[in-house]
Symmetry: C2
DNA sequence: TCATTAAGGTACGGTCCGTACCGTACCGTA
DNA sequence: TACGGTACGGTACGGACCGTACCTTAATGA
């Protein structure tokens, strides 16, 4: 109340924080312009002056939410590295992100620019650690050189994402992760 | 107008047909109760007496839309079989289904019963032909016996679906299909 | 000091979901 | 053939939400 009126960047970031919080709590379907405005202590005008519509705000807020990129593990063993990555994605703070991403992928609709941003965010952040652990596995002779192909290196990630998307779960049973690694990933990338 | 008033099953199927048509034309976001009612020549009451909400109607209509299960090809060669399946999914009448499925997967929300139905529909229809072509490949000595594991056999399908879901495309470039098969699928299932 | 810029407040049109209410056609039964 | 139950048709409405318009008010800087 007594606070001075915020302007420019300060207000924009308050809006983004509020939107990211709403995304985490209620997912994209629950991301309401009114609620974001209220939570940020402002009104819808301030939002619409910065983002053209709800989808754009959602994508921008998702960037805040999923900013943390995973640190690739280094256990000295490809199987354990892969399991560690999958478990980090599965149980870590990334799990609400799955639901959010799922909502965004449809809510964005047919706006190619926003979709491209989302794809960058989802792909880039997820691909890098897999390339890292595969690179080390190749150096140890645990994986074939062809496994450095991004499509190959990230197969386990894609399969896990498929579980999230089609089953709508926010957490997958650990036995599934083991199965993905032992039945698919290791046979595929192994030397 | 002069037509006699429809009842029971006849009306229900008219509604489902109308809903499936709307799904195919406008996707799940465009599936409006008012439009379905109008297209079926009835009103919203008749719909809500049969399905509790829009999501349930969408899932039911999707069943009509994706009823056709793919006939597994038999070219005598695993690579060509896999490519044929992927191309059928990519270019066939299944391509609007991808957008619809994407919409449904989020629109259903957190109702586990509906989601389970969707998962059945999406998994069962897609898995069978892959198991068939792998079975023949194993018999020819083209694939290892472990490739009959459903998770292994359907890897190419999952990867393609991932392209649909994350990129939001209704059609994927054919080169991507070839890459999926040559870089991932054949190295994984090959003897 | 004063004009300009950006924020706050509020109200509104439009769309859609889901519900309620009532009149009316169809159906089996006596 | 008369009758009562059931299901359909029509319409109206409340509520939620998006996006826009318009005006007032505070901050900024020249």
């Amino acid at each position: 109340m007594a606070k001075t009126r915020r302007r420019g960047t300060e207000l924009a970031e308050a809006i983004l924080r509020a939107a990211a919080d709403e995304l985490a709590e209620a997912g994209y379907p629950g991301l309401t312009m009114e609620r974001v405005a209220q939570r940020a202590g402002t009104n819808k005008n301030a939002i619409y002056r910065r983002w053209p519509n709800r989808a754009a705000l959602g994508v921008a807020a998702y960037r805040h939410l999923a900013a943390d990129t995973l640190e690739p593990p280094d256990t000295g063993n490809l199987r354990e590295d892969a399991l560690a990555l999958l478990r980090a994605i599965n149980c870590g703070q990334t799990s609400p992100a799955a639901r959010v991403l799922r909502g965004l992928l449809t809510g964005v609709g047919d706006e190619p620019e926003l979709r491209e941003q989302l794809h960058q965010q989802a792909a880039e952040g997820g691909t890098k650690p897999w390339l890292a652990i595969v690179e080390r596995a190749v150096a140890r002779g645990e994986a074939r050189p062809g496994a450095r192909h991004p499509r190959v290196a990230t197969v386990a990630l894609v399969l896990l994402r498929n579980e999230f998307l089609t089953r709508g779960l926010t957490t997958v049973d650990d036995a599934v992760l083991v199965e993905l690694v032992d039945e698919v990933y290791l046979p595929l990338v192994g030397a």
